[in-house]
């Protein structure tokens, strides 16, 4: 015997807004750090909660001794459309970084130290990844005061409950 199954009704689900983002920053180059900061700041500007989790070389963005010296990667960066050998010349990375920083200043994007302060003041929480901190032999002393804590991956996921995780 066959029975006719009722066709299930399709429910229209309204798209929900994003309430929270958790952004992982894994690269220590200028082009690795800026997108994360811009996205975190942009989230706050729209009333979205945001956490930043710095791991591996991304830690450079919150290290007192390095965060003023973040540079554009000029070697192995096809986006620059320049021969790799040129990119490897001494001082070339600094030159490109200066040019980009000047362009960004024109459109009101702050340098990294000021940007870190801006996002922290905006309510973004900054964390350092424990595994990377241990690997590089660092402590809280090495980080800028805006960093709230050194946390494990598990703690990161716990804090990221209900949020969109973005990896940069």
């Amino acid at each position: 015997m066959t029975t006719v199954l009722e066709e299930p009704k399709l429910e229209v689900v309204e798209p929900k807004t994003i309430e929270k983002v958790s952004i992982v920053v894994s690269k220590g180059s200028l082009e690795g750090v800026y997108p994360a900061l811009i996205m975190a700041n942009g989230a706050r500007m729209d009333g979205i909660e945001a956490d930043l989790f710095f791991t591996f070389f991304g830690l450079d963005a919150i290290r007192k001794d390095r965060y003023e010296k973040i540079k554009v990667a000029t070697v192995g960066n096809p986006g620059l459309h320049m021969p790799t050998m040129l990119g490897a010349l001494p001082g070339f990375s600094s030159l490109v970084t200066r040019m980009m920083t000047r362009q960004m200043e024109k459109i009101d994007i702050p340098p990294i130290p000021e940007f870190i302060e801006l996002v922290a003041d905006s309510g973004v929480r900054l964390y350092a990844c424990k595994a990377s901190v241990d690997m590089f032999g660092l402590t809280m002393e090495d980080f800028v005061p805006q960093v709230e804590d050194i946390i494990s991956v598990g703690e990161f996921y716990a804090k990221a409950a209900g949020s969109q995780v973005i990896f940069t």
Binding site: N41, R44, M45, D108, D121
Partner: protein, 105 residues
């Protein structure tokens, strides 16, 4: 675009509630828009930010970034977020009767 009647005056607003004509704005209207967006009372500090946003838009044609808002309005960034938790630049623009800020910063 919709026409909403606020304080018995009709004003033109976009889908998100931003005024499409800054000239239709009034202080009374600002207070109503603030209440609609969860700010029961506009304090002097709120007004400082709202007026700064509006003046800047009317003189330059674009709304300031959160960076210059924090540096030049006289209200630091931390306090901006306390005053307008759902986003200072956008909410102050809405209350100030100017279009939604377009910048990423």
């Amino acid at each position: 675009m919709t026409t909403a009647t606020i304080s018995a005056t009709s004003v033109d607003r976009d889908a998100e509630g931003f005024l499409t004509d800054p000239q239709q704005w009034s202080e009374r209207l600002a207070e109503e828009i603030a209440r609609e967006n969860g700010i029961e009372e506009l304090t002097e500090r709120h007004w400082l930010v709202v007026r700064f946003m509006r003046d800047r838009y009317l003189t330059t044609g674009s709304a300031p970034s959160i960076r210059s808002l924090g540096k030049e309005s006289g209200v630091p960034v931390k306090e901006l977020y306390q005053l307008f938790p759902k986003g200072p630049a956008k909410l102050a623009a809405k209350i100030g009767g100017i279009p939604k800020p377009k910048g990423c910063i």
